[in-house]
């Protein structure tokens, strides 16, 4: 990318042009006020005088004119008067102009009329009207316009210098600025390319000046961190998926091989087919659960959020699990405050509570107690499933919601390690807070549904 193509340089050039334009307009205005207007005034004055003096010559004759010219010269005035009168014979009668053009002109004439007095030279410029009478006499009448001419010259020179200066400074500044900006942008490009090459740890270097580029860099870095995090978790999940699916697949294959072997007949065949079916269904369940979790997590699941009687829903969940509790000789006790309502997806919330109760009943030994309580909690609703089983260590509790994560103590029991991941995803979709606590002994899981209409 050449500097000339850079946006910042083009912007600078645009501003240089704008500055030049405004300088020209200002100079023009100044020229108009300080040069054109005074010149017009002088011309008007000289015109008036020339007309009067000419009239005097025509009516009263040469004597009167010469007297008038001498009076005019002697009078004190802002602008020094200049004149020259040449009679019809071509004799200079009176003049204080040092020279004048040989041939008369009908236009304005500027005549240099420097005056030497006591050895000093003072510059003067006479703006002069030239008039030739019918009898051949010639009268030149003028006034000093030296100051106006000086200003005219100054304005011209200043305008050239100002515009040249503006352009030079603008180009230099533009080059410097675009180089500085390009350096910052290159740093961002560099980071992006590093990430594109597959190194997700690439970051935009920050200067710590908290300027616009630093803030942009910060945002980009946050985005990259989030992407890296998500990517990491996707990688972990897919590793886990591959790993977890190997076991049921292996079992499935072993049974298929047994079925394929000639020995399997009648009852044996039936049993194997049943086991194969069960393994297949287990695999399907895992896939379904994974898909649902990721859909719910990715908010691609359009939840049917509606006003739901949470109390009734919790009672339904408890009722569904009651027989399982009885068969496991576990006391399932409920403490459900009635009439609690909130916006929720009933199917999903049912799923979440059902998973929690499933887990609690599965891990609590015979004679244990599982407790489901639902009560108002501030401006929300707290749904708690607590048991007095073996519980989880703090480390296990922190990882329990990861897909396929199973505590060491739970490895022996059936399950895929997806139940709590699903609960976490559902809680997330509801904007609820899921927390796992030590129930000393046992585990206490709480879903806190916030706000809504209670």
């Amino acid at each position: 990318m050449s500097v000339l193509n850079s946006l910042s340089f083009r912007l600078t050039m645009f501003y240089v042009a704008l500055f030049c334009l405004s300088v020209s307009v200002l100079m023009g205005l100044y020229y108009w006020v300080s040069v054109l207007e005074p010149t017009k005034e002088i011309e008007a004055q000289v015109d008036r005088e020339a007309r009067e003096l000419a009239q005097l010559y025509i009516v009263d004759g040469q004597q009167a004119l010469v007297a008038a010219l001498q009076r005019r010269e002697a009078a004190i005035a802002d602008r020094m008067p200049f004149h020259a009168f040449i009679d019809k014979e071509g004799q200079v009668v009176t003049a204080n102009l040092p020279s004048w053009p040989r041939t008369p002109s009908t236009d304005w004439v500027e005549i240099e009329a420097d005056i030497y007095r006591d050895g000093d030279e003072s510059d003067h410029n006479a703006l002069t009207r030239d008039r030739v009478f019918d009898d051949g006499a010639r009268l030149l009448v003028g006034r000093d316009s030296e100051d106006v001419d000086d200003r005219k010259e100054t304005v011209g020179t200043a305008a050239i210098w100002l515009i040249c200066g503006t352009i030079a400074l603008g180009i230099a500044g533009g080059l410097l600025m675009s180089r500085a900006i390009r350096k910052r942008i290159d740093a961002v490009n560099q980071a992006a390319r590093t990430v594109m090459r597959g190194d997700l740890s690439g970051r935009v270097p920050l200067r710590g000046t908290h300027d616009d580029f630093d803030r942009l860099g910060e945002t980009l870095n946050l985005m990259l961190s989030r992407i890296e995090e998500l990517f990491e978790s996707v990688r972990r999940v897919s590793d886990n998926v591959a790993h977890e699916l190997r076991t049921p697949l292996a079992r499935l294959l072993v049974r298929l091989e047994q079925l394929d072997a000639d020995g399997a007949e009648g009852e044996e065949r039936q049993r194997l087919a049943g086991e194969i079916l069960a393994e297949g269904q287990r695999l399907q369940r895992i896939f379904d659960a994974l898909l649902r979790i990721s859909r719910i997590e990715g908010k691609r699941h359009l939840a049917e959020m509606r006003e739901t009687d949470i109390s009734a829903l919790a009672a339904d969940v408890a009722e569904l699990h009651e027989p399982a509790a009885v068969s496991g000789a576990i006391v399932l006790s409920t403490a459900i405050e009635s009439g609690l309502r909130a916006k929720a997806d009933p199917d999903l919330l049912f799923q979440a509570l059902s998973n929690l109760l499933d887990n609690a009943l599965k891990y609590t030994p015979s004679g244990g107690v599982v407790r489901l309580s639902v009560r108002r909690d501030g401006d929300g609703i707290g749904l708690v499933v607590a048991d007095n089983g073996p519980g989880l260590t703090a480390e296990d509790r922190a990882k329990a919601t990861e897909r396929f994560y199973r505590a060491e103590s739970a490895r022996a029991l059936p399950g895929e390690g997806l139940g709590l991941s699903m609960v976490a995803a559902i809680a997330g979709l509801h904007g609820a807070i899921l927390s796992l606590h030590d129930n000393a002994p046992g585990l206490r899981v709480e879903i806190r549904l916030s706000g809504g209409s209670l």
Binding site: G274, Q281, Q284, H301, D316
Partner: protein, 226 residues
């Protein structure tokens, strides 16, 4: 039963046709949405199995067209978009059931058979259901077995009712969950089995003949043996 299958996946369609035929049903198959719609309007079916994603036409559009002509043949939607929200969308569009791919053939057959009997004729609800010597009084909410009154919970009553209405047909666990509990969710464990086990205990105790039979890999069927 006379079933129309509209499914563009040849392999899957062949598999379904074979399965339904083996279960004793007459099956017509169309691979194209428009042809399927035409076929559905030309002939009367007991049930239609409709794929959600068809070349050219969305299965839901066919369903909507069908319903607009006041054709209320039971429709089961098959879909690879397997999630609750898609299911809700399907049911709202007027389908009677929804099954997401991949599915077990047994689940599909069980559901199609349940649909067929739900059929357009069941306008008046019977006051009582009877399977063998089991009598379910739907108005009085009482259950009698061989003249002896059996105490059941409200939920157990609903399970019995659903099984009895589908007597002789397989009812899968997820069908029970959807129809008896009114929640659509995936139980982590075979939680239904415990309820069935309790129910069996109540109605089949004292050496009475078994009524609720487990069909391995599929679900349950209520049938009076012999």
């Amino acid at each position: 039963m006379h079933v129309l299958l509209v499914e563009d996946d040849e392999a899957l369609a062949g598999y379904i046709v074979k399965g339904l035929q083996e279960a004793g049903h007459l099956v017509d198959h169309r691979a194209d949405g428009r042809e399927g719609l035409l076929q559905a309007t030309c002939e009367t079916y007991d049930a239609i199995v409709l794929d959600r994603m068809l070349p050219g036409v969305d299965g839901l559009k066919i369903l909507a067209t069908l319903r607009a002509t006041e054709d209320d043949t039971p429709v089961l939607i098959l879909s690879a978009l397997g999630d609750v929200d898609e299911r809700v969308k399907g049911l709202r569009a007027g389908s009677d059931d929804y099954l997401s791919k991949p599915f077990a053939l047994s689940e599909l057959i069980a559901r199609v058979e349940a649909l067929g009997r739900r059929g357009p004729v069941t306008n008046e609800a019977p006051a009582a259901l009877r399977v063998g010597d089991l009598e379910i009084d739907l108005l009085g909410h009482t259950v009698m077995r061989g003249g002896r009154k059996i105490d059941v919970t409200t939920r157990e009553f609903r399970i019995l009712g659903y099984l009895a209405r589908n007597a002789g047909r397989v009812v899968t666990r997820s069908m029970l969950l959807e129809n008896v509990w009114d929640y659509h969710f995936d139980p982590q464990t075979n939680i239904i089995d415990q309820h069935i086990s309790n129910l069996r205990h109540k109605i089949e105790g004292d050496g009475a003949a078994p009524l609720i039979h487990t069909v391995r890999g599929m679900g349950y069927v209520m049938r009076a043996e012999g």
